[in-house]
Symmetry: C2
Subunit: 201 residues, 2 copies
DNA sequence: GGGATAACAATACGAGCGTATGGCTTCCTC
DNA sequence: GAGGAAGCCATACGCTCGTATTGTTATCCC
């Protein structure tokens, strides 16, 4: 049911995710949806939570893989952050759902809470990555990790917005996505200028 | 009527801006609202357009004032960009309205068109500022203006999101807004490292 | 000064929504 | 093997919304 809700919102917005539409999309009756979710708000909140968890789990898996390969933190972040960008149809769908709930969060406190927690996890992971970078020599000791996390998470979400509008747009001979990646790479390079000196990682 | 629509959306979201609510808020009858707007979509689009125009006009006025005072381009941008941030109640309202329509733009092409145009104006102004900076010596000649505009506009919108959630949040002894301004200042400083050498500006 | 046109209001209508209700099957448990 | 919970469905109810309809009052132009 959450998957059906996700599909409907991704395809036609929150307004399209009515009880009847969700039931039809999921192949069930309206009554059954009510049997599992006491209200529509509960259904929407569950679908939102689940999508956020999926996104965070994917990122966590990429981090784990990067650490297993002993990649520098800078490289791990560079591969993780575009995971939240609308680069293929699946992630464009996630972007649409996230955007719809981002607006809903302005008026529904329970949604705002989930959005806040998700954002805090992302910021926290970036800040922790910077702290780890200090220990292994990639990051200058004096770097403000919280500030770096604020800038980088703002940049990632802002670039996601820019990328969504014109996915086909090109600047000269390069697609926009490459420019966005280059921007992110440069910014990461300024926060992670050093080489990791932990050979056992 | 557009002002009433703006107030309703800012206070309780797009769903609260019904025909009846707008009419009541504006002090008119439903029939009169229909007399001026053929449909609800038309009303919403008009209100959205008007708000975007107001924002762009405010920024344009700040740019003109800065130019009249012969301020460096870097300083003008540093004062203009936070104009789009939710720093006081009026601009928090604008942020809420903009966010609501940002989500609606995913499903309504006419809204998407306005959003695209507004974003293009902002990006264009930043890119033009960078080009002007090259001529007057504030910007290195090799700088990619379009790329700078992409990064800076993404950063501004991303920071707006971060600032909205916790307006009271502090990092140590400083409020979050000061960190955001410092980030913006540093980024502008990296794109505008030089001094303006046009004494007649 | 009269007739079109615009400003403005009251209300009716039909559609779509979330939810409540009642009932039917399936399956496990004691 | 009886009974109760859980899975599942169809439908009715009440409400709200956008819009259509029909009107009344003002304004303005020739």
């Amino acid at each position: 049911m959450a998957a059906a809700t996700h599909r409907l919102i991704a395809h036609a917005g929150l307004d399209a995710a009515t009880m009847a539409a969700v039931a039809r999309e999921a192949g069930f009756s309206v009554g059954l949806v009510q049997h599992y979710f006491a209200s529509k708000d509960e259904l929407l909140l569950f679908a939102y939570k689940q999508m956020s968890e999926h996104q965070l789990a994917r990122v966590a898996r990429m981090v784990a893989e990067g650490e297993a390969d002993a990649q520098p933190i800078r490289a791990i972040l560079l591969r993780c952050m575009p995971e939240l960008w609308p680069l293929d149809e699946a992630r464009r769908g996630e972007y649409r759902v996230a955007t719809a709930f981002h607006a809903r969060a302005l008026d529904v406190p329970t949604v705002a809470e989930v959005a806040r927690e998700t954002a805090a996890v992302v910021s926290g992971q970036i800040a922790r990555a910077v702290e780890n970078g200090k220990e292994c020599g990639e990051v200058e000791p004096g770097t403000d990790a919280e500030r770096a996390a604020l800038e980088l998470s703002a940049l990632v979400t802002g670039l996601a917005d820019e990328l969504y509008g014109e996915p086909e747009r090109r600047r000269g001979d390069r697609p926009l996505i490459e420019t966005a990646e280059a921007i992110l790479k440069d910014r990461l390079g300024s926060y992670f200028p050093g080489e990791c000196h932990h050979y056992d990682r």
